[in-house]
Amino acid sequence: MSFREALNSGKFVVTAEVGPPKGTDIKDMVHHMELLKGKVDAVNVTDNQSAVMRICSLAVCKIAIEYGLEPILQMTCRDRNRIALQSDLLGASVLGIKNVLCMTGDHVSAGDHKGAKPVYDVESVQLLKIVDGLNNGRDMSGNELNGAADFLQGAVVTPEANPIEPQLIKFEKKVRAGARFFQTQAIYDINKFKEFMKYARRFPVKILAGFVVLKSAAMANFLNNNVPGIRVPQELIDELKAAGKEKALDTGINITARHIRQLKEERVCDGVHIMAIGMEDKVPLIMERAGLL
């Protein structure tokens, strides 16, 4: 079943993430792909995540297909103008890539090429409209294409953004611009996420809740202090602390699994997106404990 079919079937969908390496050695990445094969509905392939230069998303999406995974091409507006974005999208289409996640992209100041010229010729809402146009056989300038694309286009949303109102207005613009599914920033407070879902359910889009495993209380504090839109509740930090150093990671995995299980059992959202960030090998374990395998 394709990712699009899985979303439409009402199945509780699971996506994971593959981070392209910095360099040409893809051994570890391929190993992670093999671990995920047959377990997840699709894998996001990040696009020079955190503005750190790596193998391009497009090439790794193609490799993912070769290893039996369905990729979601993450596409940011940071590094390419409208010509390059559309050109890469058409290229992705003919390589058999069916899904694209449209994002603005972290600023170059976050990355390892701080002197790079940030592009942002278009932004996420406009990129969604571009994809919609390509699906309908037209480029951004209105020129007819010799063969249309057929992407399932998604976007991101931060349910715990502060302030939340401008974020939700942008969410609605993304829906109007053609987003079919959303993957959220990492969530840790299920009750607050339920409030967001009560609002989001008014729109005809699928929502996958984002998860990042907490490895320690220190990591939770770091996320709270440094990462926009992430708020780890104190009770989870206490739980990690109580577990002690040796058991902290295991406890973090249990917390993620417990949250995913709850979302699935209560049908809160349409699925989950597990961002392993360096712990790709733990994804099957998380899924097993969440009752997804």
Partner: protein
């Protein structure tokens, strides 16, 4: 106004080490307000050059240094001092420097400043960039606050995921332009407009360089 900043003096002296005599041109407009090209700065530059054993043949704070014809006229009375100078130092912006380049066909012209941005003066010698001269103003759509300039990504349809407590992922010193626009639209009771508008991608052909404008009807080229 055009905001300028003095170049590092050591680097400047290195750049001009091949010349002995100089004529200094400041500007009474932006550069004077920035403290980079008014009377006091010309005096300081004269002192610095003389301390290095150089000769300053003269100097002027041009009324508007980027105004080519006006500056050329003002300089006429300094013919002798200009003739004695091997090199012209311009203490204004890049436009002022290039006015001098046009005026002095046979003399090297060096800038003493770096030109930074089109800025608002918020307090004495404190400047903010608020306009990017994008060629097609959208302030009527964004509550009078320019996201092209005040959002580091120039986003047109709301904040990115990097907004933290109303501040920017690029620096906590930057207020999120889109939170500011949202607050202002709310205050003006224009939130509905804010929600309904999806701004199209900018037409960057409007910024194709070099730009020029012939505003005098009868002088159209």
């Amino acid at each position: 106004m055009i905001i300028s900043k003095k170049k590092d003096l050591k680097g400047l002296m290195e750049n001009i080490k091949g010349y002995r005599s100089f004529f200094l041109i400041g500007c009474s407009e932006c550069a004077a307000l920035c403290g980079t090209g008014g009377e006091p700065e010309i005096g300081e530059m004269k002192g610095a050059l003389e301390a290095e054993g150089k000769i300053v043949t003269g100097g002027i704070v041009a009324k508007t240094g980027c105004q080519v014809l006006g500056t050329k006229t003002e300089l006429k009375q300094f013919k002798e001092q200009l003739n004695k100078a091997e090199c012209i130092l311009v203490m204004s912006c890049g436009a002022g420097t290039q006015a001098a380049t046009e005026i002095f066909e046979d003399k090297p012209v060096y800038p003493t400043n770096d030109s930074l941005f089109l800025g608002n003066m918020t307090r004495f010698r404190m400047f903010d960039e608020r306009c990017s001269l994008c060629g097609e103003c959208i302030l009527d759509r964004t509550g009078g606050i320019c996201p092209i300039t005040t959002c580091p990504k120039g986003l047109l349809n709301g904040p990115c995921g990097g907004c933290k407590d109303g501040h920017c992922e690029v620096s906590p010193d930057i207020e999120c332009a889109w939170v500011r626009i949202y607050e202002r639209m709310k205050r003006l009771d224009k939130l509905q407009e804010f929600c309904e508008t999806i701004l199209e991608a900018k037409d960057w052909s409007k910024t194709q360089k070099p730009r020029n404008l012939y505003a005098r009807e009868e002088k159209k080229r």
